[in-house]
């Protein structure tokens, strides 16, 4: 049970990092399904950075920069050019898939790199000694602590600050924002770049935090799951947290059940997290908090 909980809280980290970032860009009125690609890019550069410098932390910074640049490309087309955000998102994912495979083969596989330095667990004195909870919560890597702290920080920014109010307004009625002097374009750029940075960190956590290696296509839908978590969480910080935890339970269950050698095919268990995602989205139709101008480019006339 303890192992299971530890794995759930680990699984939830990349989802949380990515979806808490995306929450802001979604509320500001953009739809970025390129998260998958951003995470993948982050995963590769996290591993590359760690391989080059020996430090997973430097790797994480490089990962964040790389996926931010990729998101900048998305933002330029989606916000400035007013291109279709869905098409651009697909394009980003396609670019990221090709890019990561190429770079992986050039720099990592061809040099025979199998493992890179990963994040080390940092046990918090005293708290980590508490039975069960200590091992589950207080013996984590740095990005994991960050993810859980970020839930509260995100809630605070989202609901208590001037910036949060502007972001929430930008996706609801951009013209109205314009008439009170809010720069909608800048808000959308800002939130998209932030979500890109967070997706990069989430990717780096997957390659250098969970596995200490990069493998092609290793994100395997977790970017989309993070996106789904924002919708399933009804676009609120704690809602996002809850849905990330539910999805993480699904993922944790998947590995458990695979290992348990049940008569049901192992492929079925692999489907489980995705199945939970789909079912959750079908059951939970309350989109009362969804931004009204979601995915509609704002062009000043």
């Amino acid at each position: 049970m303890e192992d299971f909980l530890i794995s759930v809280f680990k699984m939830a980290v990349p989802l949380l990092l990515c979806s808490l970032g995306t929450l802001f860009s979604e509320k500001a009125g953009t739809i970025n399904i390129g998260l998958e690609g951003s995470m993948l890019t982050g995963a590769l550069f996290g591993a590359l950075g760690s391989y080059w410098t020996g430090s997973p932390y430097v790797g994480a910074v490089i990962a964040m920069c790389s996926s931010m640049i990729l998101t900048l490309l998305f933002a330029f087309f989606a916000v400035t050019i007013c291109a279709s955000q869905i098409v651009m998102g697909v394009a980003i994912n396609t670019i990221a898939t090709g890019l990561t495979i190429s770079l992986n083969r050039i720099f990592l596989t061809s040099n025979g790199v199998v493992r890179v330095n990963g994040f080390k667990n940092i046990a918090i004195p005293f708290f980590s000694e508490i039975p069960v909870i200590g091992k589950v919560l207080f013996n984590q890597t740095l990005p994991a602590y960050l993810a859980y702290i970020l839930v509260f920080v995100t809630w605070f920014v989202y609901s208590k600050t001037d910036l949060g109010l502007k972001i929430r307004a930008a996706g609801e009625h951009p013209t109205a924002c314009d008439t009170v002097g809010i720069n909608v374009i800048r808000l959308r750029y800002g939130t998209l770049l932030y979500s890109g940075i967070m997706a990069g960190l989430a990717g780096a956590y997957i390659s250098t935090g969970q596995l200490s290696a990069f493998s092609e296509g290793m994100i395997s839908g977790r970017g989309f799951t993070a996106y789904a978590a924002v919708i399933f969480g009804n676009f609120t910080p704690f809602g996002v947290f809850r849905s990330c935890m539910i999805f993480a339970v699904g993922m944790g269950l998947q590995y458990r059940l695979q290992a348990m050698d049940t008569p049901i095919s192992y492929y079925f268990w692999m489907m489980l997290p995705y199945l939970i995602t789909i079912v959750a989205l079908c059951i939970y139709r309350n989109r009362s908090n969804a931004p009204k101008y979601s995915g509609i480019p704002y062009a000043k006339n």
């Binding site: 001037d162 109010l165 929430r168 307004a169 009625h173 109205a176 008439t179 009170v180 002097g181």
Partner: protein, 500 residues
């Protein structure tokens, strides 16, 4: 003393002139009306003042100082506030969140409780109380407008621009608004009121500047205006008949008969309670009442968009209570819906395509499911001409037309089918005087042709002028049925409010 002066302001969009050499002078503490038909350049002029557009030439002076506003933010900082016709409030947020949104004086962390207390005190002070914690989406249209005005005041505006403020209001809400306007001028606020309704200008304004085709035609004190015909003439540029040719009605046999109609909505709130009346061929029955007293539901029950829980709808003695809408329309009922954009037309399709929505299944529009575009085009060209629809050509995207021209082609489409019953809901809402009169005259023509007409309107004048009989509705009940000749405004107002 002039607080605002616009000197020789011109604005061109490409080659199209929206404003030509406009001079406007507004005194402190006055209510200054900007009167003009749709497209006369009123909104453009005010958008220049508010920093949404830059003028092509000319200057604006505020308090004798040359004004250089490039964005709404500049205008707000200079004390100019604008209440747009389509409210610039965010429905998903609370009133107080809307108030502080985007203000430069905000701290990074908001103290909404403190702001709400200040705001509530200010609203109270101007006799416009409102709950700061209410979600905007839960407010009535009148309250939302109040919130918009307060938003401008909260930003320390002393010059308020109100763009067609009564277009969305019921007569009662309009009265409340006028009281608020008078209260504000007592406090030395200056108000510019954009309008095309002459009655409200006479009621609440001090001076009036008339715009026609982008140019100023006249600026006159309202006290010097003797009759509204004079204003209308200035506005339209030709004599306009404000009274209509209305011959005595010759009612024929019963066309529509409603028997004991009751309807509850999905929250089980009764919207219609045992409504019964009938309409004969060759008469206009006007339904008057404050918006939301069951008019929408009644019209929907007749057109088959809703099925009543109880009662019967008889059309020419045939029960159509549970008949499908397409079938009902085919039987000879035309419908000019309340929500033009939502129900009356398809914004992204051409005028040509919009005009055949009701008939494209029938010959000669189509045969064996193949549309006869050649016939349709020539037919629609005639229709557009007959109904005076101003459009570059019939392939223009319908959404690009002005509201008046959109309504004209909707009316044209519905009347072209020569209906036995015409159901018209708010046919003149948001239209200028020329277009409204045109459409009203068409309704009278239909009546004289022998059609039965059901007119639903919140404008008492429209009801009084056009109807032969008047049905007053109040919270889903028929509060009374009167002959037009016997009805007085006071009596109708009382019945609308629920008295006897």
């Amino acid at each position: 003393m002039a607080i605002l002066e616009m000197r020789h302001v011109s604005k061109y969009f490409g080659k199209v002139a929206a404003n030509v050499d406009v001079n406007l002078s507004v005194d402190e503490g006055e209510v200054h009306a900007l009167l003009g038909e749709n497209g006369a350049g009123k909104s453009t002029l005010m958008n220049i003042l508010y920093g949404l557009y830059g003028p092509t030439s000319g200057h604006v002076y505020l308090n004798g100082e040359k004004l250089n506003v490039r964005t709404p933010k500049d205008a707000i900082n200079k004390g100019i506030g604008m209440v747009h016709q389509h409210f610039m409030l965010i429905p998903a947020l609370t009133v107080i969140e809307n108030m502080v949104l985007g203000m430069e004086s905000n701290h990074a962390v908001l103290d909404l409780k403190k702001s709400a207390a200040e705001f509530a005190a200010m609203a109270e002070n101007y006799d416009m109380p409102i709950d700061p914690w209410a979600k905007v989406s839960s407010l009535s249209v009148g309250q939302q407008q109040r919130a918009e005005i307060l938003k401008a005041l909260y930003r320390k505006a002393n010059l308020l621009i109100l763009d067609e403020p009564t277009a969305v209001l019921t007569p009662q809400e309009a009265t409340v608004l006028f009281t608020a306007i008078r209260r504000l001028t007592q406090e030395k606020f200056t108000i510019i009121l954009i309008s095309h309704k002459m009655d409200e200008i006479m009621e609440v304004c001090d001076r009036c500047t008339v715009l026609r085709q982008g140019k100023v035609v006249a600026t006159i004190p309202v006290s010097e205006i003797t009759d509204t015909g004079q204003l209308a003439e200035l506005m339209v540029g030709r004599q306009i008949k404000l009274t209509m040719d209305k011959k005595p009605s010759k009612p024929g046999k019963s066309i529509l008969s409603l028997q004991n109609i009751s309807y509850k909505d999905k929250d089980m709130v009764p919207k219609l309670k045992h409504v019964s009346f009938q309409i004969q061929a060759g008469e206009i029955v006007g339904i008057c009442g404050i918006d939301g007293n069951g008019q929408s539901e009644l019209v929907r029950c007749i057109t088959g968009l809703l099925h009543p829980d109880e009662g019967k709808v008889l059309f020419k003695e045939e029960d159509i209570t549970r008949v499908h809408t397409s079938e009902i329309l085919r039987k000879g009922i035309s419908h000019i819906p309340e929500d033009r954009h939502g129900m009356g037309m398809l914004m992204n399709m051409s005028v040509n395509e919009n005009l055949i929505l009701m008939s494209f299944r029938n010959p000669p529009y189509s045969r064996r499911n193949i549309l006869n575009w050649k016939w349709i085009r020539s037919h629609n060209k005639k229709l557009v001409e007959t109904y005076n629809v101003k459009t570059p050509d019939i392939d223009e995207r319908a959404g690009n037309l002005s509201g008046g021209n959109q309504q004209k082609f909707v009316v044209g489409r519905e009347l072209d089918r020569k209906p036995d019953l015409l159901v018209a809901m708010h046919p003149g809402r948001g239209l200028d005087i020329g277009a409204t009169k045109f459409i009203q005259q068409r309704l009278l023509d239909e009546r004289d042709r022998g059609a039965a007409v059901l007119l639903v309107s919140t404008e008492l004048d429209e009801i009084m002028e056009l109807s032969d009989r008047i049905v007053v509705m109040n919270s889903g009940n028929v509060a009374g049925i009167l002959n037009q000749a016997e009805a007085t405004r006071e009596q109708l107002g009382l019945m609308m409010a629920g008295g006897k």
